[in-house]
Symmetry: C2
Subunit: 341 residues, 2 copies
DNA sequence: CTGAAAGCGCTTACAG
DNA sequence: CTGAAAGCGCTTACAG
């Protein structure tokens, strides 16, 4: 067991000063060709690598960013991580992943814990509970300390920072319009409760499309799901008690469950009911029938968020100006088997 | 914009020494009740939090662990992260997630980058490429430097360290036996190429079960999938060109694709073909029909791995003895709709 | 009870 | 060309 070698040890071994070793390794012209080579050879032999922590302390930056997501189980968030990783690694940054588990407290603890030097900035999507409480003091706190934050997907207008979103309203509008264009009028919506920002926006898009086409919205056809546990029953009542020809679901779990329930009730998809989901994940792709869906490019969102964050991090102090952008990522409707042709 | 306050600033403000501040905040009895209170009140007011990086440098440990996984897209790995997070957070550790993208180089770079002080230990599952090359020098290197490593799922006998696995061979044996007990004899296997450790073991379990029941293994019924891109065609030939009554697939993507292809070929699941998958993920649960599967408890594996790693980290140097354990996590067969009753 | 000093591992302005 | 010193932010053994 061979411990990591430090500058000090190399210096001692070669009988020079620590400064000389440090400069030699950074190829400073201050040092004679001769010593430089000697030191470099020795360092290579002992596989010297500078200690990241010492560098972080010295430079007051850690070259590490943190992404906080509500749940890793949602494939969408997993793809965002993937996008963030991709850019971060390319630019020499490490990524710490934190899960808030949809809990406000966990979100706060994570942020406070890491904001003390461990990381240089945050990329985050709000937890359900945070959106419900509308308490963002932990985020303001961090921003006030001069640490950049980029929010994505589940964002809030109450915080001023860079954001990466899709146009949820428009995407939902388009999806609904797509169903209307197929000739459907009895279109149900399976959404989340309204305090989830994206759920609310998607509901609004749906309503707008109906209105635009002079279809009367029917509250019975709108399901707002609160808990993630037994939503299947709610979906079952929705389908059993109403005469529907199509369903728009705001995520793929709801969409695939609608298919299951429809089958159970003896209705075929897409022959009897057409279904559109949201988030182009593996479920939509592999389900039978595969699901027509609004694709929300998670990889791209993650990449964009990482680019924006790193840009802020690498800006020089003097040329810094407080200015925030909101980037809107394009979505598209991926047509598959769950809607009739 | 208010920068983080340091001990130095507090000391200056209160006109005492840095040591006094530090000790007061750690409630040392060395310091008078009076000064302690004064300092603590001031620190609270300014929301002082010690700098993690400085602590890491001082203590020579970062209270951060890294988990390296091949792909986040596989739901199984996502659940392992969740388990690791859970334990780590409880014990005051941060988690860095690295994706190797099944690439040897990325695995090496990630490890080398982080092994220099940033983290205290690794939890990892080998990338495909690493398993194929059988080059583990980066891992030995890290272990030789005294940094603990826990491997899970995709492990290798070539490295001595703690491991968390399931009994892949036995689980596959049981799954196959389950099909045989239903009266099936023409059972196909959809597996990975043999250099993926778990794929190989599962194939062996399948073969053992056949042999045990005097069923002749038929190489035509064994599909070893290499690339993740167009495996659908291979599965289609398998089902189209053979007379099958059941399929055992070593992951859920293969299982759900088999269902899709079977449907396409006009065979019904489970009436015409029964299918068993591996990994109890969301796909298995939400697929129609839902998939009977060997559940591989990712959360538990992650938790166990984290517990083992942190135990090693917190052992005192003197009582340390080189001793490695391999923990086997129980699996179970979850019966659903894709096999006949 | 308080504080100066050394040290974790590094970098860099400055002196010689 | 080389090295001593200061400093990043902290802790702790030691002196007074």
């Amino acid at each position: 067991m061979r411990r990591k070698v430090t500058l000090k040890q190399i210096a001692k071994e070669l009988d020079v000063s620590i400064s000389t070793v440090s400069k030699s390794l950074r190829d400073s012209t201050e040092i004679s060709e001769d010593t430089r080579q000697k030191v470099q050879a020795f360092a290579k032999l002992y596989n010297y690598k500078p200690n990241n922590i010492a560098l972080s302390l010295k430079n007051r930056k850690s070259k590490t960013i943190c992404i906080i997501i509500p749940e890793i189980i949602h494939h969408f968030f997993a793809t965002v991580i993937s996008g963030v990783e991709h850019i971060a690694n390319k630019k020499g940054y490490n990524v710490i992943v934190c899960l808030s588990d949809e809990s406000f407290d966990k979100e706060v603890i994570n942020m406070e814990m890491l904001a003390n030097g461990s990381i240089d900035g945050f990329i985050m999507s709000l937890s359900k509970e945070t959106q419900q409480k509308r308490d963002f003091h932990h985020i303001t706190e961090v921003i006030n300390q001069g640490m950049p934050v980029v929010m994505f997907d589940r964002v809030t207008n109450d915080i001023l920072c860079d954001k990466v979103i899709i146009d949820d309203n428009l995407a939902a509008f388009n999806a609904t319009q797509f169903l209307i264009d197929k000739g459907f009028k009895k279109i149900a919506l399976i959404s989340t409760v309204d305090y989830v920002s994206v759920g609310k926006l998607r509901t609004e898009g749906y309503l707008k499309a109906l209105k635009n086409n002079d279809i009367l919205a029917n509250e019975n056809l709108i399901l707002r799901i609160e808990d993630t546990d037994n939503f299947e029953n709610h979906i079952e009542s929705l389908i059993a008690n109403n005469d529907l020809d199509a369903i728009f679901a705001v995520n793929e779990i709801f969409a695939v469950t609608a298919i299951k329930v429809a089958n159970k009730l003896g209705k075929k998809v897409p022959e009897d009911i057409s279904i559109i989901g949201f988030t182009d994940g593996i479920i939509s792709k592999y389900s039978s029938p595969s699901i027509t869906t609004v694709s929300q490019n998670g990889i791209k969102m993650g990449e964009k968020a990482a680019i924006m964050l790193i840009e802020k991090l690498e800006i020089e102090e003097e040329e810094y100006e407080e200015q925030y952008k909101t980037e809107v990522i394009e979505t598209e409707l991926v047509e598959r088997e769950s809607t009739i042709g």
